[in-house]
Structure formats: C-alpha cells, structure tokens
C-alpha cells in the first residue's frame, strides 16, 4: 500500500467519533494549559501525560498529539498577549506580537499566529507522510553497528540542545545514560546500581522524572519570576484582514519551508529556526523593514510558521528512528513508550494502522486547532489572568498524583519531587536539561546496540568502518557538530540582541 492509501485508511480510523473527540479535547486542554503563564509545551505534555492513562493507546496518543499542538499554540498566545515566551522559540513572536497587542491588534496577531501554525503544521505533516515511511524503510536495513552510529549521531543533538556549553551538555547526557542503567542488568540479569534497595530494582520511571524536571521545576521557577497576568483589555477581532493575510503570506511560506527543512536536522531546535525565519522575513520585507520590532504582522507569521514546521518535522526522526529532536517530543516519546509503542523503524511495519491513524489525526488536530481556537481567543485571553498563586498549587497536585498513577507507586512521586528540585537548580544555574532526557531515553538502546556491535566486531573494530552506513553516520556526526556550533552561536547572539541577557536555547 502507498503512503497515501495508508493515510486515507488512517483518516478512516481518526474520524471515528471517539478519536475525533480525543483530538478536540487534546487541542482544547493543550491550549488551556499552554496558555497558562510560564508553562511551555514540554511542561504541558508532562503534566497531562498521566491524565491520558485511562484511554486506549491510539486515543491516548491522538489526545497527546492534540495537547502538543494546542500547547504550542497556547505558548504563542502568552507570547503575544503577555510578552511571556513559554519557550525561547516564542521570543521572536513576542518581538512583534506584543507591540501589536499593545496597539489593540492582539486579535489579528493571534489569528495570523493560528493561520501560520495551521499552514506550517499541515505542510509539516505532509512532509511526514512522505519522508517518515521512506526513512523507516531504510532504517529497517540497519544492523546493530548502524543503529549504534545513528544513536551517536543523535547524541550530536547534545550540542544543539545544550545552549552552547558542550562540557555541561556532555555531563548531563552521560548522567542521563547513567541513571537509565539502574535496575536489572541486560546481560547477566543481576541488579545494577540499586545499592540493595528494592525500590530501585525496577529502575527510575521516565514519566516521574519528566514531571519533576518540567512541571514541578517550572512552578518553582515561576515563583522566582513572579508571573502575573498583564493581558490587555482589548484584543480586537481575531480574524485578520485581507491586507494582513497578503502581508503575512510570504513570511508564512518561507517560515514553513525553513522550519521544516532545518527541523529535519538533529540539533536544530525550534528556537534556531524561529529566529532564522524572523530574520529572513525581515530581510525579505524591504518596504516594511522599519516596522519589525514595532508591530509587523510578518514578524508574527514567520517565527510561528517556522516553530510549527520544525515541530512537525521533528515527528519524522521520532516515528522513523525513535529519536526525539526537541524536549516536547522527548515527553511525547515517553508517552508512546508508556503504551508499549517503541518508535523506530519497526513501528511503521508492526503498528502501521496506529501510526497512520495518529498522522491523520495530526491533520485533523491542525484543522480543529484553527476552528476551535480562533473563536475562543477571547476566552483564552481572559484565562491568562488567572493568578499564579491559584494555578501553581493545582499544577503541583496534578503533577504529583499524575506521577503516582503511572505505576501506583509512591516512590515515583518522591522521584518526581526530587527531580523537581534538581530541575529548578539546573534551570537556575543554566545547565541544559534536554541532553539528560535524551541520555535517559536512549541509554538502554545505546547499550544494547553497543553490546551487539561489539559481539559482531569480535575484536576486529576496523571491520566496522567498512560498513558504508556506519561510516556515513560517523562522518555526519562530525559535520552536524560543526553546523550546530555555528547555528547555536548565531542564535545565542540574536537572543542576546533581543532579550539583553543570555538564555538557554531549550526549555
């Protein structure tokens, strides 16, 4: 069956009333949580992950994908109305979105953000339909050495996601791999790093760690930043005029293309593509260049399109290779794993119906996002005024009970609390969290591939370099590392120019 035929089949399943309901609920809940000041898409998914536990896998993942899209859109709402970027990738949206809101044009800015997100999201999912199965098909021919080289390649993400300090990123990545080793050892079957504690015998639960690092840490960080609602009273009509649409169209198109193509590269976060697209749109718009930073509608369209296109492109390595390219996708990967679905080359082969239903639901999710959110913008704007003092305790309780529900284990809740403190300290002292997550997720797979590769090599390691894909991945790793260094440096310089202080490029 061709990808299109399978996609049509997926639509058949995704349009089932319950699946449709889950997509709609996911989009609404995602927007609701994403809109809350200080909560980005990553923490939104981490908080809501356990809530989907009662659903069957397809419905749960559809809902999670909806939450992801909704939270992404919610993030841009706070960026435009409150000048609070949930993530660094929303900083360029603030640059023109907030001035527009101050001019009473918050509505059209939100409308353009929604339309740009929709256009880029749909283009990204179309790319996913064609790229992911082809990539997965290639990856099916990989042996353990190729998988090992591919994972080392994925680890070049460490630099891209580190915000610059490679040593810190390396340490965090290694620490993540180290913690993933706790529990039953794969070769001898003995307990490893449990220090005689039965609580550690089953290893550390990924969801608890994610809840701690993203949800609890985010609340503690929010207390420091004293997040308060400052939404404007008047946002205007959310339906942009013909002029706004014409002015934004080129920015939307370039943002989508730049975001999608660069999003395919590991280490190229949404922050990088959003800034690149913003600058690109500014260069393209010769006549309105002077308006950038003061309320140019293209300044909202370009980064929003790039942001969403990069997020959609990230699904390609996630589904085809099992490699998350961004923090929200790492949390989504954890969600897939909870339901016993291991993303990777075999996912398309073994769970084809599931994957295509989820991909189809992404199209539907994007449409629902546009249909549901545009009329509800006024309500979302009002929600941003909920005081942090009310939100934070609710988020914390939701997080703790959520951590408990995964394995019905109080130890997991304590792990979430501990990692909440760790996450807060990491953010406070500018230590990158994402390499840790990546190391924790990929650690067991890396160890397995390494063991199998060493067994195949049987002491003759030079033989491995005669395998072209193995060699190609190692060469790509070096190239990507150099490219990441350049792109991160550039983005850091731009963040410094716009924000005035250094910011981590990931949440």
């Amino acid at each position: 069956m061709s990808p299109l035929a399978m996609l049509m089949d997926g639509f058949g399943h995704a349009l089932a009333p319950m699946n449709l309901l889950m997509a709609a609920l996911g989009v609404l809940i995602g927007t609701l949580v994403g809109i809350l000041p200080g909560l980005g898409p990553t923490s939104s998914i981490a908080i809501l992950l356990p809530v989907t536990a009662a659903l069957e896998p397809t419905q749960a993942i559809i809902m999670l994908a909806g939450i992801y899209y909704g939270a992404m859109y919610g993030g841009s709402t706070t960026a435009i109305l409150l000048n609070i970027p949930g993530e660094v990738s929303s900083v360029p949206t603030c640059l023109d979105g907030y001035p527009l809101a101050q001019q009473g044009r918050g509505g059209p800015a939100l409308g353009i953000a929604a339309i740009a997100s929709f256009v880029a999201g749909v283009l990204g999912v179309i790319g996913l339909v064609f790229f992911a199965p082809a990539l997965a098909d290639r990856a099916l021919r990989f042996g353990p050495p190729e998988m090992l080289a591919m994972m080392l390649f994925a680890f070049t993400l460490l630099f891209g996601l580190s915000g610059g300090s490679f040593i810190k990123a390396l340490m965090m990545g290694v620490a993540g791999v180290g913690l993933s080793l706790i529990g039953l050892a794969p070769v001898s079957g003995t307990f490893r790093l449990t220090f005689g504690s039965p609580k550690l015998a089953g290893g550390l639960d990924m969801v608890s760690i994610l809840i701690g690092l993203f949800a609890i840490a985010e609340v503690l960080k929010g207390m420091k930043e004293k997040k308060t609602a400052i939404a404007g009273e008047r946002i205007g009509s959310v339906f942009p005029g013909k002029r706004d649409l014409i002015q934004s169209a080129p920015a939307m198109a370039t943002g989508s293309v730049v975001g999608f193509l660069l999003g395919l590269l590991p280490g190229c976060s949404a922050a990088i593509t959003a800034f690149l697209s913003y600058d690109f749109a500014k260069k393209l718009s010769r006549k309105r260049k002077h308006l950038f930073g003061k309320g140019a509608i293209e300044g909202v369209a370009a980064p929003e399109a790039a942001n969403n296109a990069t997020s959609s492109a990230g699904f390609i390595p996630l589904f085809a290779l099992g490699i998350p390219a961004s923090p929200p996708l790492a949390v989504l990967l954890a969600g897939l794993m909870i339901y016993g679905l291991a993303p990777g080359p075999l996912l398309f082969e073994q769970k084809g119906s599931f994957v295509w239903t989820v991909i189809a639901s992404m199209f539907i999710g994007n449409v629902l996002l546009l249909i549901l959110n545009l009329p509800l913008v006024g309500m979302w704007a009002r929600l941003t005024r909920i005081p942090f003092g009310i939100l934070a305790p609710v988020i914390l309780l939701l997080s703790l009970i959520g951590a408990y529900t995964v394995r019905n284990n109080l130890f997991d809740v304590q792990v979430a609390c501990l990692f909440g403190i760790v996450g807060y300290l990491l953010q406070k002292y500018h230590w990158p969290v994402m390499p840790f997550i990546l190391g924790f997720i990929l650690g067991p797979l890396l160890e397995m591939s390494f063991m199998q590769t060493m067994t195949i090599a049987a002491g003759d390691y030079a033989r491995l370099f005669q395998r072209p894909i193995f060699f190609a991945f190692l060469a790509l790793t070096v190239i990507m590392l150099a490219l990441s260094v350049w792109m991160v440096r550039r983005t850091k310089r731009r963040v410094m120019e716009e924000v005035g202080k250094p910011e981590s490029l990931v949440g």
């Binding site: 809530v51 536990a53 009662a54 300090s165 040593i167 810190k168 390396l170 340490m171 290694v174 620490a175 791999v177 180290g178 080793l181 050892a185 794969p186 070769v187 001898s188 003995t190 490893r192 790093l193 609890i216 609340v219 503690l220 207390m223 420091k224 005081p387 942090f388 003092g389 009310i390 934070a392 305790p393 609710v394 914390l396 309780l397 939701l398 703790l400 009970i401 408990y404 529900t405 019905n408 109080l410 809740v413 304590q414 609390c417 909440g420 403190i421 300290l425 406070k428 002292y429 500018h430 230590w431 650690g443 890396l446 160890e447 390494f450 063991m451 060493m454 067994t455 250094p502």
Partner: protein, 159 residues
C-alpha cells in the same frame, strides 16, 4: 573572575558520581563475556565520562552568569524551599492519612505558601482542588489512590 560555585559543586558531584559508577563497573566485571561485552561496560564508560567532564568543569575558565542575582529576600527563599518540603511531606503523609486528607492539607499549604492568600480563602480553594482531583483521578481515570492506614485501621476497629 573564576566560574561560579554552582559549577564547582556540580563538577565535584560528577567526579564523585563517576567514582560510584566505576566501582559498580568493577563489581560487575566478574560477570563479563569480554572486556567490551558485559554489564560492566556502560557503568564504566559513564563513570569515566562523569569523571572527565566533572574535572573539565572544575578546571574550565570563569562563567558566573548562572549565579543568583542579589536582592532575593530571605522570605522568598523560605517560600521556595517550603514548596518541595510540602511536596515531600505529602508523599510521606499520603500512605497514612490517605488521599483525601493529605491532598486537602497539601493544597491548603501550597495555596498559602505560593499564593499568600488568607487561611479562610485557602481552605475553600483547597477543598475545590481536592474535589476536582478526586473527580479526575478517582471517578474518571479509576486510579486506586491510597485510602490511608489510619482510616483502614479505624474501619477494622469499628468492625
């Protein structure tokens, strides 16, 4: 200026953790199939990685941008420290007092600590939050939350 004390502490912790991993690798070495095949390999590699990166952090040049800006009050620090304390306390009380009582108490303390609302306001907000959690997790998701040893004991005694 030398790099911040936070980086130094992290570097030292990494070196110490590296030592723990290497010790574990040494313990598992006897179960090996080969020098590079066995459960000892990754703990060993992680140990070496942590030792080296920790040492590099300790020896690297200055970077103090992560240091806390002055001006945070003692009260604020106490509030931030109180939140994890309430959360850990919640995990300790939960098996004894049960979900309802402990969630109500934790919510009350969190609203008071984070929001700084009056006790009376905190009580009704905590009650609403606990009821909403009950509806979501117990009624909708059917999560078996702890009922509490105190209540269980009371039930046994009543019988």
């Amino acid at each position: 200026m030398r790099h911040g004390w936070s980086d130094r502490i992290a570097g030292l912790m990494a070196v110490a953790a590296g030592g723990v991993f290497i010790r574990e690798a040494w313990k598992l070495y006897r179960y090996r199939t080969d020098l590079w095949i066995g459960d000892h390999v990754f703990p060993g590699l992680v140990g070496i990685g942590l030792l080296l990166s920790g040492a590099m952090i300790l020896l690297s040049p200055a970077d103090s941008r992560g240091e806390e800006a002055p001006g945070r009050t003692e009260g604020f620090r106490r509030r931030v420290a109180a939140v994890p304390a309430v959360l850990f306390g919640y995990t300790l009380v939960l098996p004894w007092a049960g979900y309802v009582i402990s969630t109500l108490a934790a919510a009350l303390l969190l609203f008071r600590t984070i929001g700084g609302y009056r006790w009376r306001t905190c009580i009704w907000m905590a009650a609403v939050a606990a009821v909403c959690m009950e509806l979501l997790f117990v009624e909708w998701l059917h999560t078996p939350l702890p009922t509490g040893k105190i209540l269980e004991l009371k039930g046994v005694m009543a019988r």
